[in-house]
Amino acid sequence: MVRAQVMVCGGTGCTASGSQKLIPEFEKELKNYELEDEIKIVPTGCFGLCERGPVVIIYPDGTFYSHVKPEDVHEIVEEHLFKGRPVDRLVYKDVSEEEAKTIQEEVGRSVSLNDTNFYKIQKRVALRNCGVINPESIDEYIAMDGYAALGKVLTEMTPEDVIKCISDSGLRGRGGGGFPTGRKWSFTAANKADQKYVVCNADEGDPGAFMDRSVLEGDPHCIVEAMTICGYATGATEGYIYVRAEYPIAVKRLNIAIAQAKEYGLLGKNIFGSGFDFDLHIRLGAGAFVCGEETALMTSIEGNRGEPRPRPPYPAVKGLFAKPTTENNVETFANIPQIILKGADWFASMGTERSKGTKVFALGGKITNTGLVEIPMGTTLREIIEDIGGGVPNGKKFKAAQTGGPSGGCIPASLIDTEIDYDNLTAIGCMMGSGGLIVMDEDNCMVDIAKFFLDFTVDESCGKCSPCRIGTMRMKEILEKITSGNGTLEDIDKLEELAKYVKENSLCGLGQTAPNPVLATLKFFRDEYIAHVVDKKCPAGVCKALLNYTIDPEKCKGCTKCARNCPVGAITGKVKEPHVIDTAKCIKCGACISNCNFGAISKG
């Protein structure tokens, strides 16, 4: 009889930090203590707090161990699992000693993951099974009411009922566009054709975003189930999951999930005896960012070079293989089974007036708790950053949050109390995007950030239309001119004009959104651009061409440490006499500053 379970995170983050080495170690130690029949090891998907990986959670208490190393396993087994004393030094808790004591006295256990600030505010719908079940076990998915929604749809509901339920729930596309999902499905359903398709867009390309990957790794069956439901609702009998080849764990688990579902008859012919047939295929993307755009994605599935095409005709009319097609993002699909089971009203009760439900964000950048979080729509940026994210580390000041990656904009510190939903973000000239949320502090230069994203889009532009191919390149050149100290005020105006032109005239979403980082930073941080071109300064101290390192002769003791650590020999001076930096030789690496014990070196 199993009395406790050891959940070992098998998401990409924890796998990279070595979580898979813990499993054989646990097996060995449990055997030593003759606990192997009482305690079960369960490999899971992502728990969300990737920063603290490898993560291990022990149920029934939900004790959250972070940064677990193979050499810690012996102690966890002996102390916690054998003797019942959680290993305090490894328990992650961001609550006060007092709260921990109250929990111990009133509930009779140490702090669990649900007590931590990181989890407390979160509301897990799309991620509900991530970190809770073994993603490679269809039985565990079924135990969590998996495939019950599909059963309900096929035996009790008409396709119209399903679409009405999804429409009433208010679910909007989670890939970034925010188009109402129910309406999208109804368009495909309304078109008559001998063959229709369902496509899952798992080509998550934004730098720093890993929401979809985590869902696929942690709960692949929910995507299989949701796509089958979508197939029934829209009249499609075949589906394609287009997933990046760079997500090997996700691909492996999807393949396992599809094979298991076929074995159980949950994919294939005559599912649940309803007469409905559905089959799924996986296609691997080769890593082109443009393939996240729906028409380019379908072109790529068809075996052609991934290039977008003009819309209309929309995919609902003429999509994959020129047949009516419904294309949704991974996170959108992940919400579907829950909406069917718990009802449209349940889903619509979460969120704001026009943005229902929850949204998953990949928190990254200058934030204490890097990881994956799911919050109800309407949660403020402040709650995400300060409460869940644990704030900006090292006492630095929050400057802005970048949402939506290379297609998105930024939210400045002055708008930190903005309630996150589709319309509020659009109103401030930003966008929800797919869910990448990169936090920036005072050490980030906003011009440099804009240049970084433009670098990315220039690389990833497919080249089919000239506004995007040439326009983004020219924009990047202007940004390079500004960051190298050669810019003028006219360049800023030209940049803004060009950005608007590219936005309006590009063929597909990539080009139409590529100027967003530039436009948003120009809107909120124009003074930084001006400082670069007028004062020839980079206020954040990032743009190297605008920096000069100097040694204060008053403070310098002549210890020679900077000179010894300078990789290019740019610092000279005699022992016990002030040193000097040769600016012509200096590569502005900052090694001297970090090595000076007297704070004598400054940049600016």
Binding site: M1, V2, R3, A4, Q5, M7, E38, K40, Y59, P60, D61, G62, F82, K83, G84, R85, E106, V107, G108, R109, S112, N114, V132, I133, D139, E140, I142, A143, M144, D145, Y147, A148, G151, T155, Y264, G265, L266, N270, F272, G273
Partner: protein, 123 residues
């Protein structure tokens, strides 16, 4: 699989295996498993609770867990029962047989077996 019944059967069979992870039992039964507890026979008591709770289909309501030394070593094996909004109940000198009784009367019936509690031994 051709029917909802088959799906439900798999779910019911598996439910016990995942219910531990939901951790939302209103009642927590905590068995002291320090050296003194184990020496006094806490392991069979823990197993009796784990098996009994599952057999009686109480898994949704009751979470069975373990803890270290509770501090009253002469009374081991000690079992504490926590329930939201109620006073903690501490059972002492437990055996698998007493555990079965606690499951029946206290966990199912809601009646504390006063004669097994620490209060009774001290008074």
């Amino acid at each position: 699989m051709k029917s909802l019944e088959e799906l439900a059967a798999i779910r019911d069979r598996m439910k016990d295996k995942v219910v531990l992870r939901e951790g939302n039992g209103q009642i927590r039964v905590v068995v002291g498993m320090a050296t003194c507890g184990i020496a006094a026979g806490a392991r069979p008591v823990l197993n009796a609770f784990v098996e009994g709770v599952s057999k009686e289909n109480l898994s949704d309501k009751v979470t069975v867990s373990q803890t270290g030394c509770i501090g009253v070593c002469q009374f081991e094996p000690v079992v504490e029962v926590f329930e939201a909004g109620k006073e903690k109940v501490t059972y002492i000198k437990m055996t698998p047989e007493k555990a079965a009784e606690v499951i029946e009367k206290h966990l199912k019936g809601g009646n504390v077996i006063t004669e097994y509690t620490i209060g009774n031994a001290i008074s």
